[in-house]
């Protein structure tokens, strides 16, 4: 269960509030796509949810198996450390917890296989394609055993085909593990494909304009179905209206 209550954030009083009394709730294991005009504070919201930035006012409650839920963050670029191999990047969270080399190796290998990256563990990020890099980033997030994954426009720099493959991977992960995520995106199609709920944000100061239910999320071949396009039109209308 994730509860965001009256969340506000102001960086600089002269510029006004970035987030202003933003509230929403999300049941555990649910997926949420956040969409809104550029510069509206979507990234700021994610930073606060990830605990990287403090809110000026309001409350964030991320329920977890052990007290405060643990989040994992996936960024568009720069997520992977260029000086670590794919396997080292994936196992970094375990290394920080003090896990031994053997267990780290095992987890990295398992996740590499799960994400279709067999044999690429010893490569450095610079030797991987954009899609492979984001797969490694997803694997690294999974290795932290998070309660919630936060993604900041993770696929926007990828070509269309790779992007759809990775979107499928995310839905697949959700179906197999029941792992919830919040994805920030500027693509309506991506929001409708990846969010069981879609939060449409207003321009600054940012509030939730509408929380749209998307019951067809996760159905097979969603991209070819009429309900997919209907939902896209609905989201567009909300955004423009």
């Amino acid at each position: 269960m994730i509860a965001v209550h009256q969340l506000s954030k102001t960086f600089n009083p002269e510029d006004g509030a970035v987030l202003d009394g933003l509230s929403f709730e999300l049941p555990a294991g649910e997926t949420l796509a956040v969409i809104g005009p550029s510069g509206c504070g979507k990234t700021t919201l994610l930073y606060i949810l990830a605990g990287l930035s403090a809110a000026s006012a309001g409350k964030v409650n991320i329920g977890g198996r052990r007290g405060r839920g643990h989040t994992a963050f996936i960024l568009q670029d720069f997520g992977l450390f260029p000086w670590k191999t794919a396997a080292q990047n994936i196992a970094l969270a375990l290394e920080l917890k003090g896990a031994n080399a053997a267990s780290r190796h095992k987890v990295a290998e398992t996740l590499l296989t799960e994400l279709g990256l067999e044999g690429l563990g010893q490569r450095y990020p610079v030797q991987l394609s954009g899609g492979q890099k984001q797969r490694v980033a997803i694997a690294r997030a999974l290795a932290t055993e998070p309660d919630l994954i936060l993604m900041d426009e993770p696929f926007s720099s990828l070509d269309a085909l790779t992007r759809e493959h990775l979107q499928n991977t995310m839905v697949d992960m959700w179906q197999r593990k029941g792992l919830g995520y919040i994805i920030v995106t500027h693509s309506v199609e991506e929001a409708v494909f990846l969010g069981r709920r879609i939060a449409v944000l207003t321009d600054r100061p940012t509030r939730v304009k509408a929380l749209i239910d998307n019951p067809s999320f996760g159905t097979a071949d969603l991209r070819f179905k009429n309900c997919f396009f209907d939902r896209i039109r609905e989201v567009r209308r909300v955004m423009e209206g």
């Binding site: 930073y47 990287l52 920080l96 610079v126």
Partner: protein, 546 residues
């Protein structure tokens, strides 16, 4: 082709050039390469050579280790810790352009004539480079890496180990590799007196005995020492920063990587640009040495000439930054300078300029009445430079003129009058600085055009600028040679002139009108060498022949 193969080819070419030069000169000063190599072959069988070699290796090795141990962590600290950077980097900014070598007498008094003073001298010079490169490298690191890591762990210690250090290491290593050249050059200088051990002594001793092949044994030994250190650092970097060696065939990735590197280099260069002025110091000292032949120089002279140099340079530098703050703010390359970035207030900068100007006037007053009378006009000339690029593309020549006042001033300070011969030295400096400044201005071509500032590259394009620069450097070379005739210098100076000529050629080979990537690092080192070689050339020539 492997490393060994490349060294073989380069070595072979070098030997060929050497042979031709030796034939052309047919002087004892430059023995044929085969003679020098034979002598070297003999020398490596003697324990004496290895005693000198190991003494030098020990000094450079200790200095490099010391510089790294102090400067690398300090650079990481300044780069990472904004608060520390705010308070400490003004000291770095202010002291970086001072040629640390002039502190050698102080070091000798403080640390004695033994190895300590030499090691500290070399370590200080290299340490600064490591510090600046590391700091800029860490600062250039995208904050998103830090955010990405902090989402995994809140511990600063882990952040340093997993993110900051791995990102800083390549910058530190680059500085270390470049520092090898500088380190060996300084080693030669510090070993050329007050010691009976080391390759520097070996060379000077052979020189004094006219044993030219022996001299070249020492020179080859020093070159080997340099290669040895350089390759060791290369090897270390490849081991420690294995990730750096990998690239893909993907062009976008590679372009992004070189973009980062170019940024880093530009950040590096930002601080040293104003050290243009300091290239004048060896010329001023050269004027002092030349004047000393007819008018004995006292410590009083030397001290106040140095004080005048420091005062004038600081005043001119500070004034320029104040006047240019408006443009610096708009130019992405210079926007991070102290004043535009707000790290130094306008008021503090003005006080700095006033105090520096007063120091200059005081120094002039201590030197002579004539110096004091001339000092205010000199300040006016220096300050006017900051405005020249707003109305004339000849600002490069004006910069040369302003800097060329240094040897002129030093000459007048010592002799108490103006003499025509010293103008040759001034003109050499003028043309050399102007040529260099034109190349340097190529970096700002686009910005200058947009901002309506005048420079030769902005007005006629980089290709014309390169030709003009080459012409100026050719003229500079002629003046360097004329010094030989006008001041009746000997063969040692002639050798220095040849070396300077080749460095100028190297300089023009390092950069191309559309490929300025080498400009900062390589240039600064080539350029700082030219002044030092001139000074050492004149000094030793006079010591040897007069």
């Amino acid at each position: 082709m492997g490393v060994i193969g490349r060294y073989m080819v380069a070595g072979g070419l070098l030997l060929a050039v050497w042979k031709v030069a030796a034939l052309a000169l047919s002087s004892h000063m430059l023995p044929a390469p085969e003679d020098a190599l034979m002598a070297f072959g003999q020398a490596v069988k003697t324990p004496t050579f290895w005693r000198h070699f190991s003494a030098s290796a020990y000094r450079v090795g200790c200095a490099m280790a010391l510089a790294w141990l102090v400067a690398f962590p300090a650079g990481v600290l300044l780069g990472y810790h904004r608060q520390a950077d705010r308070y400490l980097s003004p000291f770095v900014f202010l002291t970086y352009p001072i040629p640390k070598i002039v502190l050698l007498p102080v070091f000798l008094v403080l640390f004695g004539l033994g190895d300590a003073a030499k090691v500290f001298m070399i370590a200080l010079i290299i340490g600064f480079q490591i510090l600046v490169a590391t700091r800029d490298g860490v600062q250039a690191l995208d904050r998103k890496y830090v955010d990405s890591f902090r989402s995994l762990s809140p511990h600063t210690g882990a952040l340093l180990r997993h993110v900051i250090l791995p990102a800083a290491l390549p910058h530190g290593f680059t500085a270390l590799r470049i520092g090898t050249g500088t380190g060996i050059a300084v080693l030669f200088f510090v070993e050329s007196f007050a010691t009976a051990q080391g390759l520097g002594y070996f060379i000077m001793d052979a020189w004094g005995r006219f044993a030219y092949p022996q001299m070249f044994v020492g020179i080859i030994g020093m070159s080997l020492l340099g290669v040895l250190f350089y390759e060791s650092f290369n090897y270390l970097e490849r081991t420690v920063c294995a990730w750096k060696g990998h690239t893909t065939g993907r062009r976008d990735v590679r372009r992004a990587a070189t973009g980062d590197l170019a940024d880093t280099i530009q950040v590096y260069g930002r601080m040293i640009k104003f050290s243009h002025t300091i290239f004048a110091l060896p010329f001023a000292l050269a004027a002092v040495v030349l004047a000393h032949r007819t008018h004995p120089v006292t410590l009083h002279h030397l001290f106040w000439i140095l004080a005048a140099m420091v005062g004038a340079r600081s005043a001119a530098m500070g004034f320029n930054r104040i006047v240019d703050a408006r443009y610096d703010r708009d130019n992405p390359r210079t926007a991070a300078r102290e004043i535009p970035s707000g790290r130094l207030s306008m008021q503090a900068a003005v006080i700095f300029v006033v105090v520096s100007s007063l120091l200059f006037l005081l120094a002039a007053a201590m030197l002579s009445r004539l110096c004091l009378i001339l000092a205010p006009p000199v300040l006016a000339v220096l300050f006017l430079y900051s405005y020249t690029k707003r109305f004339t593309a000849l600002s490069h020549l004006y910069l040369g003129l302003a800097i060329a006042l240094a040897p002129l001033g030093a000459w007048i300070a010592v002799t108490g009058r103006f003499d025509w011969p010293v103008m040759i030295l001034c003109l050499a400096l003028l043309t050399y600085i102007a040529g260099f400044d034109i190349l340097y201005a190529c970096q700002d071509t686009e910005f200058d055009r947009q901002a309506g500032l005048f420079s030769i590259p902005a007005r006629w394009g980089p290709i014309v600028a390169f030709h003009v620069s080459a012409l100026l450097h050719l003229t500079a070379f002629v003046f360097f040679f004329l010094i030989h005739l006008v001041f009746n210098m000997g063969a040692v100076y002639l050798a220095a002139v040849i070396l300077i000529g080749s460095l100028l050629v190297v300089e023009h080979r390092l950069v191309r009108p559309h490929d300025l990537r080498q400009i900062q690092l390589a240039f600064f080192h080539v350029n700082s060498l030219i002044g030092i070689i001139l000074f050492i050339g004149i000094l030793t020539d006079i010591l040897v022949y007069q």
